[in-house]
């Protein structure tokens, strides 16, 4: 699974280049997130703007990352696409994450 991380000041931004976090990819997602979050930072922002589908196992894995980082570090989410947002909304998990509509401007790649 293709994830990469970049440090912007005290914020670690993690990009996912795959379209799905589901039962077929959830183990790889967990492993890559564990590796990438070894980089110290106060905040971690997961950019989900390329992800079109998250199933219940993917949702559980994202919650597990939030719990693994707490209480010292916060996991925030950005760029939820419509079906992904629906899964977070229905399960009420949108209440437990700080969710940005888009990746904040100061955290985007200079390009």
């Amino acid at each position: 699974m293709d994830l990469s991380a970049e440090l912007h000041g005290d914020v670690l931004v993690i990009d996912i280049f795959d379209e799905r976090i589901d039962a077929a990819s959830v183990i790889q997602f967990k492993d890559r997130m564990r590796e990438l979050t070894l980089t110290a930072s106060q905040r971690v922002v997961l950019d989900l703007s390329r992800v079109v589908f998250v199933d219940s196992s993917g949702l559980g894995a994202i919650v597990a990352v939030l719990k693994a980082l707490a209480p010292q570090r916060k996991l925030e989410l950005a760029g939820l696409t419509p079906t992904v947002h629906k899964v977070f909304r229905l399960t009420r998990m949108e209440q437990v994450f700080k969710i940005h509509d888009n990746l904040p401007l100061d955290l985007r790649h200079a390009s």
Partner: protein, 145 residues
């Protein structure tokens, strides 16, 4: 995966019990008529429900051995009726899980699972499950207008 066959509003598909086969099968299915003509919102709901139902069969019914999953979808605007059959293990007590969400009580206690049946129950109607001889049959319908 056998390629889905669609005629007169009915689509039939057989999948191997495997997470990658479920993913590939769903992507193939939802790109076909009539599913590709549903609204994005309705197609998203169908994808969520089918992914949860199929992955549940892969993880539980066929936990001990592989097998086939047979999917039959009947669309008569605006209702999509779905029947899913497998020959794996029965549901515990031959009953569907309640699918209630755990309460959200601070970050330490957040649930990391148990979302699947909640999503299925939230997005479907007329959900029924039967165990007949060695087969599980799950059926439900969804409004996709």
């Amino acid at each position: 995966m056998d390629h889905p066959i669609s005629a007169a509003g009915r689509t039939k598909m057989q999948l191997q019990s495997d997470p990658q086969a479920v993913r590939d099968g769903l992507c193939t299915l939802l790109a076909m008529v009539p599913f590709c003509n549903f609204s994005d919102d309705a197609r998203g709901s169908v994808e969520i429900v089918l992914a949860e139902v199929l992955n549940n069969i892969v993880e539980h019914a066929y936990a001990e051995c592989g097998g086939h999953i047979d999917l039959t979808l009947d669309f008569e605007h605006p209702t999509l009726s779905v029947e899913v059959v497998d020959t794996g293990l029965a549901m515990p007590a031959e009953t569907l899980p309640a699918g209630a969400l755990s309460p959200i009580d601070g970050n330490d206690d957040l649930p990391e699972g148990g979302f699947g049946w909640f999503l299925i129950r939230s997005l479907t109607r007329g959900l029924v499950y039967h165990r007949r001889s060695d087969r599980n049959m799950l059926a439900f319908w969804m409004e996709v207008a």
